[in-house]
């Protein structure tokens, strides 16, 4: 399959590969950070049990930590990367004033949307990829939490508590 030419969506002469590498590294780091939810969850789930003669027994009245508490900062990588992508928009516009005034050319093109297309498309797409990834990981972790945690250990309103935990 032919690789799409993303340079058409970046300022002319801009090092679009460097920007893509930065984004890929950012996404990979965010994913790794988010995966720290799993060991946290496993440790908390383990604490619900006691081991008696090599048999695991659920403790009476044991309660699992809230999902929002376990989630903690694990998805912040995606959010920080999303904010960086918004910053990239400013960087793209500033690029047209750096070392020359290519902004003069961009502003007098017969297609007036060309400047904005080249400054906005990639960062906004990347921004939404970050947000969607954060939402997908949130749902995956929530499903893990609800599926693998013994029902009697889950305190009510777990989903609502996520939003209450937001600043």
């Amino acid at each position: 399959m032919r690789k799409p030419d993303l340079s058409r969506f970046a300022p002319p002469g801009f090092n679009v590969n460097a920007e893509i590498h930065f984004f890929i590294i950012g996404m990979a780091s965010s994913l790794i950070l988010s995966l720290t939810f799993i060991p946290g969850y496993i440790a908390n789930r383990k604490s619900l049990y006691i081991t008696f003669s090599s048999e695991k027994i659920l403790m009476d009245g044991a309660k699992m930590a809230d999902f929002s508490e376990l989630l903690g900062f694990t998805l912040y990588g995606f959010l920080i990367l999303a904010i960086c992508m918004l910053g990239m928009i400013i960087f793209h516009y500033i690029y047209h004033y750096k070392d020359s005034k290519s902004i003069y050319l961009m502003k007098r093109l017969p297609n007036p949307s060309e400047l904005h297309k080249r400054c906005l498309v990639l960062p906004i797409t990347a921004f939404f990829v970050c947000i969607v990834s954060a939402i997908v990981m949130l749902l995956v972790y929530f499903c893990i939490y609800m599926t693998f945690t013994p029902e009697q250990c889950i305190t009510p309103d777990q989903w609502q508590k996520i939003w209450r935990a937001l600043p």
């Binding site: 002319p12 002469g13 005034k101 003069y104 050319l105 007098r108 093109l109 017969p110 007036p112 060309e114």
Partner: protein
């Protein structure tokens, strides 16, 4: 024809252009002269729509919009190319956005100036950058070519060559508005001189009329600006105490 009517531009409280009226018919080479800060660049940027202004600027009777902006090209000493792109990539970019882009002229001028085609512009010398900036403006396929001090940094031989080539390649319907301080150098190249001072047009004359009256362009400029030829000797006298 580009027509400016009562064009006014302020930067805060400073008046940059004061009710400027100007006609630029097709096929003329017009020199725009004035001291630093006179309003030359502002005037050009207003024509290109790069700055907001009061008054009206029309191209063949219609306001200048994205529909007709490709009829005007611009070469500036600030450079409007992309430093990270090579001339070849610029050619492709221009081809895509300006349907009348002239490949023949581009190749001819690139060869004439012996500019490398695959090297990013950021590695060019200032003189080469100026040449390339002018080449792009001439190849865009525009009827009106606006040049704002395009040869600042080029040596005299280079500039003279350029004037000759320019005169040789221009089509009868192509108009050039050229802002420069090199008045004497361009006097044989332009057909009309427009003088601007503190945002006002204070002189507009054809070089043919000047020739017929036996006057030179530089004399016309000096007279229009009320240039005091004795100011140097007076200053030297005041500074050194010696009479010339």
């Amino acid at each position: 024809m580009i027509e400016l009517k009562k064009v006014r531009k302020n930067y805060g409280s400073k008046v940059a252009l004061r009710d400027v009226d100007l006609l630029l018919p097709r096929g003329e080479i017009v020199g725009l002269f004035g001291e630093n800060g006179a309003g030359k660049t502002t005037l050009m940027k207003c024509i290109l729509g790069l700055l907001p202004y009061d008054g009206s600027i029309t191209l063949d009777g219609a306001p200048i919009t994205p529909n007709n902006i490709s009829q005007i090209s611009f070469a500036t000493s600030e450079h409007s190319f992309f430093p990270g792109l090579s001339p070849k990539s610029h050619r492709d970019f221009y081809r895509e956005h300006f349907p009348k882009f002239s490949d023949t002229r581009f190749e001819g001028l690139m060869d004439f100036f012996e500019l490398p085609k695959n090297k990013p512009l950021k590695h060019f010398s200032v003189g080469q950058k100026n040449q390339f900036e002018v080449i792009l403006s001439l190849c865009q396929g525009a009827d009106y070519i606006i040049m704002d001090e395009p040869f600042a940094g080029n040596d005299v031989f280079n500039r003279e060559d350029f004037y000759k080539v320019l005169l040789g390649i221009l089509e009868p319907n192509e108009t050039i508005l050229l802002s420069t301080h090199l008045i004497e150098e361009v006097s044989s190249f332009i057909g009309r001189a427009v003088l601007i001072h503190r945002g006002e047009i204070i002189g507009d004359v054809s070089t043919l009329d000047l020739e017929e009256s036996g006057s030179s362009l530089i004399d016309f400029v000096k007279n229009t600006y009320n240039y005091r030829s004795d100011r140097v000797s007076k200053t030297l006298e005041a500074l050194t105490g010696k009479k010339e």
